[in-house]
Every structure is written in C-alpha cells, then in structure tokens.
C-alpha cells in the first residue's frame, strides 16, 4: 500500500500552468527521487504535497496521504498534519532557521505544536533528536544559535525539526545542493538511515542524477510540469524510454575531448603565495589571530594548458583567484604572468592585467543590467592603450559573439533578454575580446542546468581547438573538472595538497583529502556511461 499517492495533479498560478497531470507514489520506507531541470515543477510538486503553495496557486487532482485527501483538507487540518505526519527539509540551510532563537527551542517547537507536553519534556525529546541526527550534546547544547553552526550542522537541525515527531512522510527539497561534497555525502547517509530506522517515506527533490542514483529506490523524471518517466532506479537507468531522460543522463555524464596541450612553457608562475586576514580578537586585549586563507601556494600553469583547481568552500580558492587577478595584494610570495608580476609595488600591474580575463559563476550577477551587450563585452578594452574604434570595434564584437555561438546582432540587446546559458556565453565573449593569454573560470558552469552546462563545456572544447587557450578552471564539481582540464590541483585549508595530471589524480589519488573528496562525490552508474557515449 502506498503511503503517499499523487494522482492527476495539475497546478496553475494565474495564467501560468505549472504542473500537468502529475502522478507518483511513495511507499513507507521507500526513497523516491523526483528529478528534472529548473522549471520542471519538481519543487512545486513538493510544496503542493505539504500544502505550502503560494496563495494564488490553483490545484486539481488528488494527493492522498495515508488514505486522506490532502487537497480537500482545510488550512487548520493541514497545520495539524504538517510537522506531525509530513516533515520537510529545504535547500538553503543558512536561512532556514530563525536567527534569533536557539536550536533547542526550534526543534522543541515542532513537538510543542502538536503534543500537549511540558516544555521540559519537549526539550528533552529535542535533545534526543539532535543526538540522533549527529549533533551530540557536549558540542551542540540546546542553547546554541544557528549562526554558531556550519551549513551542514544547520541542515542537521532542520532535519531534526522535520523528523522530531517521526512523520510518515519526509520531503527533502534539494537538501544537499547548497552543501560541500563531503558534507553532502554525510547528510545523504543520514537521510537514508533515518528513512530505514523510522520506516518513513522519503520524497527527495534533486536535480543531480548522480545523487539520485546512489540514494533512491525509485525515480520520477519531470520536464516542464509533466512526469515523463518513472520506475525503479536501476531498471530505469538501464532501460531509459523517454528521450528527455536519455538527454538528461547524457548531459550529466557529458565528456568533452580536449585537443592535446602544447609542450610545457610556463605562463603563470605562483610561488609561495600567502594571503591572510586578521580575525576578531578572542579576548578583549589579546592579539588578533590571523587566518591564512592562502598559505604558501606554489604552482605553474603552462601556455596552452587547462589547469583545474578543486576544493570545498572556505578552502581559499576564491582568495587565491582574487590574488591571481591582481584584485588584492598578497602578503608574501610572487605571482608572475609571462615573467611580470601581477602586482607591482602598491598597484596592480596593468600590463599583466590586460593578458588575463575571468568568467564568474552567476550568469545573472555578472553583468550591469543597465548596459547593452556591446558595452558589456567591450569593458576589457579599458585595459588597452589604444582600444579599437568604429569599424574595427564592431568587427571585434562580432568576432567575439560569433566565437561563443551567438549572433553579432545580439550586441544591441540588453542582458535580461538572454537565458542563463546565453549569459555565460556572453561572459566568455567578454573574456575573449582582448585575446588574453589566460582566462580564469571561477565556478563558471556551476549555476547552470546540466544540459546547458554540457553545451558550455562543448563550447570551451571548441574554443580550445580554435585557438591556443590557457585557463584555470576553478570548481567544486569533480566530474566537470575531470573532463575539462589536463592537470588538476586539490586545495584544502589554504594549501595545495595534491597536484598532477587530471586522470592520474582521479584514478590514483595520493593525498587522504583527495581520496575523501573522490569517495564522497556521487557518481552515475557505470553501465550508463557506455550508452551515453555510444552515439
């Protein structure tokens, strides 16, 4: 018997149809993954189930939990189910907790809301639940505030809140997307364990097929508000029927062929670079402790080489990037491009800067919304002593846009007229326009859907074939780095702990941290790689 049964669910907000005829089931103790790209309607399905849709949403169909039709319940009745029979975990742990109330208070609230118990008893049970999710009393007393915890720890608190009353159904909406890969692995393990121990049904919303593969009993694939395919995990991966499922899988496992790198000739030399920040004093008149964000980093990037840099948040890769780009001075060591320092005396060296460009992560924040593409992509001309004018300028703009697969006529449009993937192409065009010696890709494909990401990776490979492109590719996504780089560096706590040819590092990691990272990274089932590469 199924625990949750969604039948023919359709949802519209105003004149926008969000969901069409969605049906899926979750059995007790079963993990069902609902997957798809942005706009597929997977999160809306989750919100409809727990009854937290925007006020303007109109639904038809049936959502049955333990035999009760949720859509026909009053708001009051839904309130008594939420938290008691259905729990929910959200994507963003940093903002999911009330910053001004203690964690004990917030977990106990779930219990007090539904059961007539004393506050002391509720706190006792909250304590037990926090212990259960891996937040032991000695390090995480109930009196802690959310800001004193890391992202992974906060997500554990949210999970404790959601399962405090052992609900029949737990909904997890991208619960690990905002977390580092090692933290993600631990949270996924915890969710799996809890599902088994409590006999809950888990409806897991995620865009990441690799996470799905390692976790779910059954998969529901959604595209533009419709369920396109559903089935037991392994069976579905082996017999994908719908073209969208196949495309999604192929894009997730996408690999590119880079042309061979030219013989080694140093382009960027980084020697013993240190960048540290003073931290607030621990005691009133004590010394200010120093945090070494980048701690003695040395490496060389050769001309025509594609170098990767991986590491988790806070490892110092952003600080290193800013230092490489000459946006901030370093305290020790030197950074040379073509033998010239990026920071000369008290000023960034403009000679060097004009040979470097960067592509950022966020396709929405990377452009001044008030300027046209023409002006946006020619901003690096500011670095040139004699920037091209008139015809020459127009030609350069057309050339850059064509190189990234856009139309020269796009120069006259505003940035909001483009999709996320197109914006990243424009960002690459901006990086190419000065024909720089080195491009830094700072998580440049991390915010994109898998299919768009695959196209962007293809574009990079094409560019590498068309011109000698040297780049530093910074990412937390190991599978992307593996395919798009020749050599890779692993960074942890401000230090490069391992570097070497990409395939070698991935197949035969030497440093324990590299091994931990690789072990934690979710992977797609092997069998499918063959089919994905087949066509």
């Amino acid at each position: 018997m199924s625990l949750l049964s969604i039948q023919g669910l359709s949802l519209a907000i105003g004149s926008y149809d969000i969901l069409h005829d969605v049906s899926l089931d979750v059995a007790p103790g079963e993990i069902v993954a609902v997957t798809g790209e942005s706009g597929s309607g997977k999160s809306m399905t989750a919100l409809a189930t727990i009854g937290l849709l925007p006020a303007a949403a109109r639904t038809t169909g049936r959502i049955t939990l333990e035999g009760q039709d949720l859509l026909s319940l009053s708001e009051g009745q839904m309130c008594s189910l939420r938290g008691a029979r259905i729990g929910m975990v959200f994507q963003e742990p940093m903002t999911a907790l009330n910053p001004v109330r203690t964690i004990g208070d917030q977990v106990a609230e779930t219990i007090l809301q539904h059961e007539a118990v004393s506050r002391a008893e509720a706190l006792d049970r909250a304590r037990a639940m926090l212990n259960r999710v891996g937040l032991p009393e000695d390090r995480f007393p109930l009196s802690r505030y959310p800001h004193e915890l890391s992202g992974g720890q906060r997500q554990r608190v949210v999970i404790a809140m959601a399962i405090a009353l052992r609900p029949a159904l737990l909904i997890a909406d991208e619960p690990t997307t905002a977390l580092d890969v090692t933290t993600q692995a631990r949270i996924l393990d915890l969710l799996k364990e809890l599902t088994q121990d409590f006999g809950m049904g888990l409806m897991m919303i995620t865009h990441d097929l690799a996470v799905v593969a390692g976790m779910a009993d059954r998969i529901v694939v959604m595209q533009q508000g419709r369920v396109v395919e559903t089935g037991p995990t392994m069976h579905l991966f082996q017999h994908m029927q719908h073209p969208y499922t196949r495309a999604l899988f192929a894009a997730s496992a996408h690999q590119v062929n880079l042309p061979p790198a030219p013989p080694a000739a140093p382009l960027l030399q980084v020697r013993d670079v240190v960048r540290s920040y003073p931290r607030p004093r621990r005691r009133l008149f004590g010394p200010r402790p120093v945090m070494h964000a980048v701690d003695g980093v040395s490496f060389t990037l050769h001309r025509g080489e594609r170098l990767g840099l991986v590491g988790e948040s806070g490892c110092g890769k952003s600080t290193l990037t800013r230092a490489l780009l000459g946006l901030e001075p370093v305290q020790a060591g030197e950074i040379l491009l073509d033998g010239a320092p990026v920071w000369a005396g008290n000023h960034p060296n403009l000679e060097v800067r004009r040979k470097m460009q960067v592509v950022f992560q966020d396709p929405y924040g990377s452009f001044n919304p008030r300027h046209r593409v023409r002006r946006l992509i020619t901003e690096p001309f500011h670095l040139l002593a004699d920037p091209p004018q008139g015809e020459a300028r127009t030609a350069r703009i057309a050339e850059a846009l064509t190189a990234v697969g856009l139309n020269p006529a796009d120069a006259d449009r505003f940035i909001h007229e483009f999709s996320g993937g197109q914006r990243q192409r424009i960002a690459i065009a901006r990086a190419l326009i000065n024909d720089p010696a080195l491009i830094v890709f700072d998580e440049a494909v991390s915010a994109l859907d898998v299919s768009v990401r695959a196209q962007c990776l293809d574009l990079l490979a094409d560019l590498c074939r068309a011109r000698p492109l040297s780049y530093l590719f910074i990412s937390h996504d190991l599978s992307v780095v593996r395919t798009i780089t020749d050599r890779v560096m692993v960074m942890q706590a401000g230090k490069i702990v391992e570097q070497g040819p990409t395939e070698q590092v991935f197949t035969d990691p030497q440093h324990p941290y590299t091994r931990a990272l690789l072990a934690a990274a979710p992977t797609l089932p092997d069998i499918k790689k063959k089919t994905a590469n087949a066509p």
Binding site: V358, S366, F367, R370, E379, P380, H382, L383
Partner: protein, 273 residues
C-alpha cells in the same frame, strides 16, 4: 506599462502646488503686501476663495507665495543632502572597511544626533534668523540620510560579479562608482529624494512656525500658522487652510515617492507578482 494609481494622484497634487508656486511669480489673485483691515478674517467665499487673514490679506495668494518658500527651502535642502551625501556614501562603499569609511560613517552618526531643529537653534542663536538657516539646518540633516542609503546600496553592488568584472578590466573605484554603481542606485535616490523633499516641507513649516525660518515679509506656511494660533477659535479657516496645504503637499510627495518606488524598483515589482 500601467502607472501605479498612487503615482498619478501624488503627481497631480505635487503638480498643483508646483504650478501654484510657479504662477505666483507672475500672478496672484491679490497683492499680499496690500493690507485691508476692513476685509480681515473673512471666511472662504467668492471674492476670497480661501478667505482672508487678520490683516485682510488673501489667503490663497499667501498660500501660493508660501509654496514658493516651502518648495525652495525643501528642494535646496535635498540638493545639499544629495550633493554631499551621495559622494560620501559612494566613497565609503568604495573604501569599505578602511579608516575613511569609518570616519564617514561615524560622522554620519554624529550628525544624526543633531536634529534639524537643534541645528537651526544653534545657527539662529549665533547668526540670527532667516530662511537660509532652514535650508542649512535641513540640508545638514539630509546628508547622513543619503550617505547611509548610498553606502548600503552601493555595498550590495560592490559584492556583485559585474563590479568584479569591471575591476578585472582595470577600472578605478571612482570610475566604477560613477559608471556602474551610480546609475544602478539612481532610482533609489530619486525615491528617497521625494521622501526627503516632503520631510523638508514639514521641517520648514515647523522652523518658520517657531520663528527660526523664513522671516516676514516672506510668506511661509509655518508663519501663517503661527499668526493664526490665537485666532483659530474665532476664524478656524486661518489655521485650517495653511495646515491643509502642508498636509496635501506632503501627502502628494509621499504618494509620488511610493508610486515611483513601485514603478522603478523591479525587485518590489517581482514581489507582487
């Protein structure tokens, strides 16, 4: 694009007073320097639409002349606040965390401790009364308002990637502030400017009411109310009319500010969909 209703109403009210003030330069129904004691304290009617005051002057004409004072003082005060506050805020944001930032922000806090009235008292005590005092006093108080707002808004842009891209393109902080940040915060400044304009009208009225602002013979709404105070029980219109003029002008500006914010700020518009 559909214009917010509050914007239309606000713009209409504001235009009414701006128009009246502009018209007063060429024409008023009566000469306000002409005293006519027999006609004094007449209730509103056909000859004097808004009645006459204790000296027989036409109140409508005085309201028109008073609008000039109010608008001039409030506008100049906004000009001082924007002219000094925005560059200070941009500088503080561009040099965030530096000593300069700290000095600017602490300076702002300090000015907040001096309400306009207190500044006006100090200036008047030392230099004597006048409309200029009101402009300076209100203007000084506007500086930290704009400086803080500018700094806060600019900071949110300094962390954006497109600013980093401009830095990678070798542009200086000053250039980035003017080229990238200023246009992006302009809407916010226009909205706040409208609000400060309305607050300026209120502050000017209060200052001239207690005699620290415009001095006779300059007409001003605050002075009209001060003169009306002892007459309010026998001729309520002398107190009601200037007060209502202030209320309507301020209401108009506030409605216009709210409407402009709805129209210009895409974030809020997204919120409402």
């Amino acid at each position: 694009m559909r214009l917010p209703r509050s914007l239309l109403l606000g713009a209409l009210l504001t235009a009414l007073f701006l128009g009246g003030a502009a018209l007063s330069f060429v024409w008023t129904p009566y000469d306000i320097e002409l005293l006519s004691i027999p006609d004094r304290l007449q209730a509103p009617g056909w000859t004097h639409w808004l009645g006459t005051d204790q000296l027989g002057r036409d109140i409508l004409s005085m309201i028109m002349m008073g609008a000039r004072t109010s608008i001039a003082v409030a506008l100049l005060a906004v000009g001082i606040g924007m002219g000094l506050g925005i560059p200070l805020g941009l500088t503080a944001a561009a040099r965030r965390g530096s000593l300069l930032d700290e000095v600017i922000m602490r300076g702002n806090d300090l000015i907040f401790a001096f309400p306009s009235l207190v500044i006006a008292i100090l200036i008047t005590a030392v230099f004597g009364a006048g409309a200029m005092n009101a402009i300076i006093a209100i203007g000084i108080f506007n500086i930290p308002v704009f400086a803080r707002l500018t700094r806060g808004a600019a900071l949110s842009f300094w962390s954006r990637d497109f600013i980093l891209a401009a830095r990678v393109a070798g542009k200086s902080s000053a250039r980035i502030s003017v080229e990238h940040i200023l246009p992006n915060i302009a809407n916010l400044m226009i909205v706040q400017g409208t609000i400060q304009f309305s607050l300026g009208i209120l502050a000017e009225a209060a200052l001239s009411y207690i005699g620290l602002g415009a001095q006779p013979p300059t007409a001003s709404w605050g002075r009209m109310l001060a003169d009306a105070q002892t007459l309010a029980s026998i001729a309520p219109h002398v107190a009601l009319v200037p007060g209502l003029a202030i209320v309507l002008m301020v209401l108009g500006l506030n409605l216009m500010g709210d409407g402009l914010r709805d129209l210009l700020d895409p974030r809020i518009r997204v919120d409402r969909t």
